[in-house]
């Protein structure tokens, strides 16, 4: 057959990435070319297997809330630093606005530069001393992280990971908070979802429907999660649930204290939604598995 189709084009065709003319050409060609039809069918089958496998593995829940708060924390720090600069500049430009002040402003700038320059030259002078001081120390800290290997290799990997995390991220949530999610599910889950406690409290508008949906979902998920989830996803699920519960817990407290706090309320609602999504992902998994069988 003239001009048989390349596997790459077939893949593009399958992914809907070919242009209109190409699509027509390919479908016409496939109609009377058996090898290409076979190739397309095979590509379709393989894609189905591969992408459903990848979906299962890659599309797990993402710790949205934690990421958002971590990012905001470092941004607000950055901002504070920036706004200090901004103020200094604003003051300077205010002074410069008067013509008589201009000369004084220039003088101030020159003076500041001179100070900066002199400070820097002093610190340059100090540097060698620092280097010497550092040079006497290095053997101790480099040996420390490798030592635990002798007792337990698994643990070392974790410590080095933690080290690199600390060094690469200037601002981070204390490790205690992070460690939370391994132990939290057992402690937290019954507390936040327990109906009696919530009943005694006053609901904010719309909250009750969320609570009811969550309680219903939770029931069905609890009955099937052992069966449906493989251990690895089970751990991920419990961990994500703990994170969501934690946010709900905290936001509930804030909202009870100050019912007019709109942003806290919004966050509470979105956390409820997160929880529903999470529970749904487990509840629907069963259906998905059934449809695959």
């Amino acid at each position: 057959m003239k001009g048989c189709i390349d596997i790459g084009i077939i893949q593009a065709f399958l992914d809907g990435e070919t242009s209109a003319e190409e699509t027509v050409m390919i479908s016409e060609h496939i109609e009377d070319c058996d090898p290409c039809t076979l190739l397309l069918a095979q590509a379709e089958d393989e894609s189905a297997i591969v992408f459903s496998a990848l979906d299962r593995d890659l599309d797990t829940l993402v710790p949205t809330q934690r990421l958002w708060s971590r990012i905001n924390e470092s941004i607000s720090e950055e901002r504070e630093r920036a706004s200090l600069w901004h103020r200094a500049l604003a003051m300077l430009s205010l002074q410069l606005s008067g013509p008589s002040m201009a000369a004084a402003g220039v003088l101030v700038v020159v003076g500041m530069l001179a100070v900066v320059w002199s400070v820097r030259s002093v610190s340059d002078f100090n540097d060698p001393a620092d280097l010497v001081a550092d040079a006497t120390r290095p053997s101790v800290p480099t040996a420390a992280p490798t030592r635990p290997v002798a007792t337990s290799p698994g643990e070392t990997v974790r410590t080095t990971v933690a080290d690199s995390e600390v060094s690469s991220v200037p601002v981070r949530i204390p490790t205690a908070e992070r460690a939370n999610y391994s132990s939290a599910p057992e402690r937290r889950a019954p507390r936040t979802t327990g109906r009696p406690r919530a009943m005694t409290l006053q609901y904010i508008p719309g909250e009750e429907t969320y609570m009811r949906t969550i309680a219903d979902l939770k029931e069905s998920v609890d009955t099937q999660k052992d069966r449906v989830l493989p251990p690895s996803s089970r751990i991920a699920f419990e961990r994500d649930l703990a994170v969501v519960n934690d946010t709900i817990d905290r936001m509930q407290k804030v909202v009870r204290r100050d019912p007019n706090n709109q942003s806290a309320k919004q966050l509470l609602y979105s956390s409820y939604q997160d929880k529903i999504d999470l529970l749904n992902s487990v509840a629907q998994r069963d259906e998905l598995m059934a449809s695959l069988r």
Binding site: G8, I10, F51, R56, D57, T64, N72, S74, V149, V169
Partner: protein, 196 residues
Amino acid sequence: MMLKMSKVTEICVDSMSEQASAAAKTETIEFEEAFSLHHRTVFRAARSVVRDAGLAEDVTQEVFIRLYKNLDVIENGEMLRPWLIRVALNLAKNTVRGNNRANTRDENYVKQTEGNDVFSVESEYELKSELSDVSRALGKVREPLRSCLVLKQQGLSYREIAESLDLNETSIGTYVARARQEFLKFYGKAGKETVR
């Protein structure tokens, strides 16, 4: 979180003219939108390289901080997602490289002190079994095929994939097809083992 943002904007209103604060507000909205639209893809792309949720979080955080710093430079158009992913993949690769160096150091140490630790095989097995069959098979697929496959799975268009990975758009189809075949070659065996 949002509270903090509003507090920060308040501080800024003091020192900035109204116009500037309005611009900052639209920037904040743009940033929030970019985060909510793309953080999942960024996180998952990073995790496919670093294979650790904690490290992927660090990478994702750094990616969005860089976006924040460059908001005025990067246009919030269709090429935003490829930009984010490109940054994420680079950071993730650097993280892995750093970790590998640390691991080799540990391994050298283990080699030196070998003989008295019987449990090393056991713990190595544990480490390996933490990874699912899928990520193990995915790990064996060569680059850039693997990234193509992951990004395709995450719903990026061929154009976006090409932009993220610095590849020619016309060859993405071939890459995806080859990646798919390679993945299946590795996954096929492991996958059957777990089914039976």
